[in-house]
Every structure is written in structure tokens, then in C-alpha cells.
Amino acid sequence: MLKINNLSATVDDGNKTILEALSLEIPAGEVHAIMGPNGAGKSTLSYVLTGRDGYDVTGGDVTLDGEDLLDMDPEERAAKGMFLSFQYPLEIPGVPTMTFLKTALNAQRRARGEEEMGAPEFLKKARALASELKMKPEMLKRPLNVGFSGGEKKRMEIFQMMMLEPRFIVMDETDSGLDVDALRIVADGVNKLRSPDRGMLIITHYQRLLDYIVPDRVHVLSGGKIAASGDADFAKTLEAEGYDAYAA
């Protein structure tokens, strides 16, 4: 499904190389986790995959179902099904959450040549999801993320993800800032989205999340590439022993 092949990327106008010939393949239906030390380049990888300005690809390629992603604008990638749950979700002052999300959903549908979703159907879906994620309904009326607590913002990322039903999901430290109950609710939501034609890449520092969302593979990102990989139990070893063995 998602194929990353020898990907190299720089930040800071090319002055700093973060990814160096990183390769990784996530087949449809699988959930992979990426762990690794602070500053290793995990968030950088998520931005390169979604096309953020300032993260320059200097080599390699990335395809989603065989289609080259790197030449696409961020919104085109989103319409193809790429979704990033941000490590630090942004506040969008003045734009109510529902307006934002309906605009996004229908922009994606238009780009794919699908029919737009009408207001009643959208509202119904949003209400049902909000209650499933135990979110206060008034949060949906407020400007997106403005004044939300850290945990509320993370929950809002999952809410958006479930509304948009993306084909490939990157979650960047979605667990940080969540209390235990929220973590379980979020994990339930994510598990519900697991399906044979959807792939997920979960970036985390903590084994705890992986108890709820059990990954098919666990990778260590260090020195700009995937330094080691293993099965779900590998996360436990990493948490116990640290990353020294994989230092660049």
C-alpha cells in the first residue's frame, strides 16, 4: 500500500539532513509502529509524507497504491486518502469545527469526483461519532481547537480521522497528553478503522498505546533510517532497553 523507498529529506533550507535513504513498506491491512529517540526525524517523516513546505525531499520516492505521492500538493494527497494526526494540532481561529470539517470532507469528495455530503447526513454522522468519542457537542461549534486542552485536541484529531475515513493514517504521538480513559476511547476508535484496505503508521514513545492498538510490525527510526524492526513484542524490549543499541 504505502512504499517508502530510499527517502532522503532535509530541513532548514537544505542545511540539515534528517532522513537518509529510509525505506519502509506498509501493506494494506497492516498497522506499523515507529519508535525512536527525540529528534530522530519521526515527525519529519510524517510531514514529508503529507507534503509540508520546508521539508525538502532530496532523494528516493514514496508511492501510495503505486501512485507517486511526492509530486502532489498536500490537499491532493489528502484526497487520495493520506491523513496525519498531528503531534501538535493547530488552532484555527474563527472557523467553527463543523464548518472546517464539512469543507474538508466535501473538498476531498469533489477532488475524487464523488458526490458531496449533504448537511443532514453530515450532522448525523458527526453527532454519532462525537458521542462515541465522548466529546461534548458544544466542542463542535467552537472554532477548531481554539482553547482546547491538549487531550481535547488529540481527541479532535481522531474525530476528524473517523469523519474523513482516510485510506492511510499517520498518527504522530496521538497518545501523548491523553488520560487513561481517553486513551482507551481513542484506541477503540482506531481499532474500528482497522480494515483490509487501510494502512496505519503509528509514531509513539510508549508501549502503553501498543497494548491497545497491537501493531503488526514495530520499527526503530534512528540515524535517518529504519535501524531495526520486529513484531509487537519488540516494543517491550525497546521500552526496557532504550535505543542505545541503534544509535547512529
Binding site: 500538493d73 474563527g94 472557523v95 474538508a104
Partner: protein
């Protein structure tokens, strides 16, 4: 009698340093035309053509109207008047025009002005508004001139005890335009909100100037002006609160925030507080910036195309100055105009 160009202000006049009327007038015809505004009155009000001179002629452009305009279009709003219908003023499309509104004690009036001219016109409007005790005014100005129009519209408001003013300006500019509001606060407990937004493209220019003169205690002034400029447009904001010694417990706040969306656009701003009273709460803020690139990426990651994302963020940025506008139909129409402008400029 024709207008002597030397009577027009130039850049050398401090108050006009960013809006050179004389230079612009040189290329304009109809400098001594008499304008003919059109009034749609709510039931119960009448219009008179007064010939008497208005006492207030404190700016060079005001003085000109007293030489060149025809009658003073006068509306006397009786004490205690109120109506669901607004006073609509249109036909502000050419020449010199003088208008006088008198709001009696406790009267309440909503005024909607459409400032829109024909091509290649010079428009100079002087409006005097007297607000008696407890009078209340909601005033909306919608300004959209062709790129060849020179317009100056000056308003002098006198507010007596307990008067309430809510003014909303939405301007898309013109070749050169200045919308000036001067308020003399003469009675205690006056509340004034003077909000506005300007959105300018091409080589348009608008100058929003205001001068609030406070000479009595216990008044509240709120001013929030938002600007969006792109292409080679130029926005000017000049605001001054003059808080005289007796004006104790004045609570006044002035904000001007602008977005510059292109490399060649310009914003000039001069927020001023001149305070002689010692027990007041006065503040001002002025910011000029760009759209938040991080927010834009976030929106695009969710699938919203770049142009639409910019338009949404820009609309949200300007729209909040109209939040408190009571006439919901009017508010919707202002927001629609902003949206249309954003659609055309993206």
C-alpha cells in the same frame, strides 16, 4: 464657481500624509458638481432641504461642501422614535453632498449607507449627526467604488449623555478614498463602538481615519478595524483618542489588525492616544502580519485546497468586527460581500 485645486489637502498636511487628495483630484472631472443622494425613509420620518449652514466645518473637505453642495439634506428623528426599518442612503455617487441627521432624546435609528460611484467621479460627502440624550444609532457603511473614483466622506458625530453609537464600515476602496469619522463626546456615559474592515486589491486605496474627542467622564469606546490588502493596494488606518482632563473613568480600546497578502501591497497605520485625565483605562494595539502558514498546511492536509484555505482564514480574520451587528440580514449580506471578494481575489 469652480473648485480651486489649491484648497485641497496634500501630503504636506499631517492628517493627509498618506492620502494625497490634491494629486488625485488633478486627474478627476466634476470637482464642483452638486450631488443628489437618494433617501429611503422608515415610516414616520421626513426629509427636509435646509439651506442654513452647518456650524461644524472642521476639515478642509467639509468646508468645500459648504461652498459647492446644494441643500443640506436634513432628517429630524423625533424624541423616542424607533422603527424596524432602516434609513437607507444611496445615490452617493458624485459631487458634493451635505447630510444632517438629528436624533432626538431616546430616539433609535438604524442607517445603511451605500457608497458606490460611477466611473471617474469625485465624491465629497459631509455628514453631521447630532445625538441627543439617550439616542441610539446603528450605522453601516458599505463602500465599493470603481478603481477610477476619488471619494472623501467625513462624518461629525456629537453625542450627548447616554448616547449609543454602533458603527460598522465595510470598504473595498476606490482609486483614492477616505472615510473619516469624528466624534465629539459631550455627555457622560456615552458608549461607542466604531468597527470596520477593509479589503483591497488591485491599486485601490482606502484611508480609515477617526478622531474621538472625550471631554466628559464615564464613557466607553471600542474600536476594532481589520484590514486585508493584496496586489498593489494600500490601506491606511489613523485613529486618535483624545482624552481630555475631565474625562475620568474613560474606558477606551483601539485595535487595528491587518493582513498583507502580497509583496507589493502597503499598510500605513497611526494609532494615537492623547490622554490628560489620570484615572482612565485606555489601550491600543496594532498588528500587521501574514496568514499563518502552519494553519494553512493543517487545512490543506485535511483536503482543503490552498486558495479555499486562505479564503476561510481571511474571512475568519475580518468577520469578527461584525459579530455584534444586530441586524442579522445586514450582517449576512456583509459577510457575503466579503466571501465574494475573497472568491474573486484568490
Amino acid at each position: 464657481m469652480s473648485l480651486d485645486l489649491n484648497t485641497l489637502p496634500t501630503r504636506r498636511d499631517e492628517a493627509w500624509k498618506w492620502t494625497d487628495v490634491r494629486a488625485a483630484a488633478k486627474e478627476q472631472g466634476g470637482l464642483s458638481d452638486v450631488g443628489l443622494p437618494k433617501f429611503t425613509l422608515p415610516e414616520g420620518l421626513t426629509i427636509m432641504e435646509a439651506s442654513s449652514d452647518l456650524a461644524i466645518a472642521s476639515t478642509p473637505m467639509s468646508r468645500l461642501t459648504s461652498h459647492f453642495s446644494g441643500p443640506v439634506w436634513t432628517v429630524n428623528v423625533p424624541d423616542g422614535f424607533s422603527s424596524d426599518e432602516p434609513l437607507l442612503i444611496e445615490g452617493l455617487n458624485r459631487g458634493h453632498i451635505r447630510i444632517h441627521l438629528i436624533l432626538g432624546k431616546g430616539a433609535s435609528l438604524s442607517v445603511i449607507e451605500h457608497h458606490a460611484s460611477d466611473e471617474n467621479r469625485f465624491v465629497n460627502i459631509d455628514m453631521v449627526i447630532d445625538m441627543k440624550e439617550g439616542a441610539s444609532l446603528e450605522r453601516a457603511i458599505i463602500h465599493d467604488d470603481p478603481e477610477s473614483c476619488l471619494r472623501v466622506a467625513t462624518t461629525h458625530i456629537t453625542a450627548w449623555r447616554g448616547a449609543k453609537i454602533n458603527q460598522y464600515v465595510l470598504s473595498f476602496g476606490g482609486d483614492l478614498s477616505r472615510l473619516e469619522t469624528r466624534v465629539a463626546v459631550m455627555g457622560k456615559e456615552v458608549e461607542a463602538a466604531l468597527n470596520g474592515a477593509y479589503l483591497l486589491g488591485a491599486k485601490r486605496h482606502v484611508d480609515m481615519t477617526s478622531y474621538i474627542d472625550l471631554a466628559v467622564p464615564d464613557c466607553t469606546i471600542r474600536q476594532a478595524v481589520k484590514g486585508v490588502v493584496t496586489d498593489k493596494a494600500r490601506g491606511v488606518f489613523q485613529g486618535k483618542f483624545h482624552v481630555r482632563k475631565p474625562a475620568q473613568h474613560t474606558d477606551a480600546e483601539m485595535r487595528h489588525d491587518a493582513l498583507m497578502l502580497s509583496d507589493n501591497c502597503e499598510i500605513r497605520s497611526k494609532p494615537e492616544l492623547e490622554i490628560y485625565a489620570d484615572d482612565v483605562a485606555c489601550a491600543h494595539g496594532n498588528t500587521i502580519g501574514q496568514l499563518d502558514e502552519n494553519a494553512l498546511f493543517y487545512m490543506r492536509q485535511r483536503g482543503i485546497p490552498a486558495g479555499q484555505a486562505r479564503a476561510l482564514l481571511t474571512e475568519a480574520f475580518v468577520a469578527d468586527v461584525f459579530d455584534d451587528l444586530e441586524d442579522e440580514t445586514l450582517k449576512d449580506s456583509l459577510l457575503r460581500k466579503i466571501r465574494d471578494w475573497l472568491k474573486e481575489t484568490k
